[in-house]
């Protein structure tokens, strides 16, 4: 069953079109990722889903309720963690949690089962003021606060921005556990490498959806052969490589280069040979499977 449905939503701020006819559905119990760079329209979309903004056109439903007309109902079903959410710094962990439970008319005890996996790590610090917690701890507390009223749908706007890699991993593990408990989760991120942790993802750029699929679906839909090239001074080599007729696109990828081939006949050998002929000193060429970042670039250029 669809828990969230977004139908051709558009939203402008003055002359800036933040969203241009965005549509997708999120099924019950799914961990859905909204992947796109800053300024792509992720936050606007999240705010429309959470009833905080009205779309200029189109509509969105959460658990079958319209976010514009039935916003009161929607608000009782949602758990929301805004991008800049930083809790009340001067209240302790415990007080923050109790407060948000109170705001939603419930108590921490009532829904303790849901948050216990997250909260047990915070429990030793429950008297500590939220402002004195580390980034990862704050994020866990914020998640607990968003969950404390047992929402059906959890909306997380860039929860991992500015958080270190260890805390981020823990956070994604927690999201997986919540998913197991049947909560539908939509999460946005600017980091492509987090895409693979979602059940399905929507790639978003400039207010448009570039594609919705499972991460593997997105990767399998990459229409070209992709090669990884290791060579000396890759940045200098790039200019040569891009001018080759067999090259669709080429760019840095970590310490190596990614080479998008423009025909199916190309093999590592052919590419290595062509490169050597053009004066690039090649260490190795391997055919590789694309990553979400490659797919994103390809889809951006298709537009």
């Amino acid at each position: 069953m669809e828990k969230i449905s977004v139908n051709s939503i558009s939203k402008s701020y003055g002359n800036v079109e933040a969203l241009k006819g965005v549509s997708f559905n999120v099924d019950g119990g799914e961990l859905f990722g909204l992947i796109g760079p800053d300024g792509a329209g992720k936050t606007t979309l999240m705010r429309i889903i959470t009833t905080l903004l009205l779309p200029d056109s189109g509509n969105a439903k959460v658990c079958g309720y319209d976010v514009a007309n039935e916003y009161k109902k929607v608000r009782t079903l949602l758990g929301y963690m805004p991008g800049r959410f930083s809790l009340y710094q001067d209240l302790s962990v415990e007080e923050n949690l109790n407060f948000f439970a109170g705001v939603f008319g419930t108590t921490v005890q009532e829904n303790y089962d849901l948050i216990k996996n997250i909260y047990y790590k915070l429990e030793p610090f429950k008297k500590r003021r939220a402002g004195k917690l580390s980034g990862g701890m704050k994020q866990k507390l914020a998640l607990s606060c968003a969950l404390v009223h047992k929402p059906e749908v959890l909306v997380l706007d860039e929860p991992t921005t500015g958080v270190d890699a260890v805390s981020r991993k823990e956070f994604w593990d927690l999201l997986k556990e919540l998913k197991m408990q049947g909560i539908t989760i939509i999460v946005s991120t600017a980091y492509m490498d987090e895409a693979s942790l979602c059940d399905r993802i929507a790639l978003i750029q400039n207010g448009k959806i570039l594609g919705v699929n499972t991460p593997t679906g997105i990767i399998n839909a990459f229409p070209y052969k992709l090669f990884s090239i290791e060579c000396e001074k890759p940045t200098h080599a790039l200019e040569n490589i891009r001018s080759l007729s067999i090259c669709k696109n080429a760019y840095l990828f970590g310490n190596s280069l990614h080479f998008v081939s423009n025909n199916e006949e190309n093999s590592p050998e052919i590419i290595a040979k062509t490169l050597e002929e053009s004066g690039v000193k090649v260490d190795s060429v391997n055919e590789v499977s694309p990553e979400i970042e490659d797919c994103f670039i390809e889809r951006m250029q298709r537009q």
């Binding site: 760079p37 792509a40 890699a165 980091y191 940045t235 760019y251 970590g254 310490n255 670039i297």
Partner: protein
Amino acid sequence: MKVASEVSGNNVIEVKDLVKRFGDFIADDKLTFTVGKGQIFGLLGANGAGKTTAIRMLCGLLKPTSGYIKVAGYDGFTQSDKIKENIGYMSQKFSLYEDLTVWENIRFFGGIYGLWGKQLRERSEELLQNLGMDQHRDTPIADLPLGWKQRLAFSVAQIHKPAVIFLDEPTGGVDPIARKHFWELISKAAYSGTTVVVTTHYMDEAEYCNQIVIMVDGKIVANNTPLELKKEYQAKTMNDVFLRLAQSASRTE
């Protein structure tokens, strides 16, 4: 007046047994590493690992407690002013004044870094030409796409041709195409001899570095190229390497 000693060998940063204490708390414990000229050096660590303290010492903003530190040939204990003149800094969070134009920003930061008169004018023009942003010189920063802002900020941070440039989470949040462009720019700067120090939480940024130092609980636990580190820990990505090393951390901010 003492003339700054020449950089020994090809090293632009030399740190030996560097310690920084705050009271009883040892933020950085006997750091030892060197960074060669034209390297892209990544300093990684979870929150509370001592990364920020280390960067502040390298930038001449914080006096070490003990040990040896030399940046761009200047001593970190006694010549922090000289160090500041020879480094550039760029952060994802703060880069340029949004309400000033491209040209005004370049001139302003050039002035800050001690350029003036003809030199400032020439460097500013050169910078605009290199970025291909000549026709946008009178555009306010606020109207530029994020990727452009980032490239401009990077160039501005180098207007005084520093020996070392520090980048704090440089490409977080930009779209992948702009990001690739940006890394090309960084890599070109490195080819031309500028040493680049990158700090980031995002391990895919670490993949672009030539040398990686990972800090856990104030100590250096790894110092190698990304490729060697991935081999050593039999990991597919730098993220896996980092998680292996940093998950044992006991200290959090």
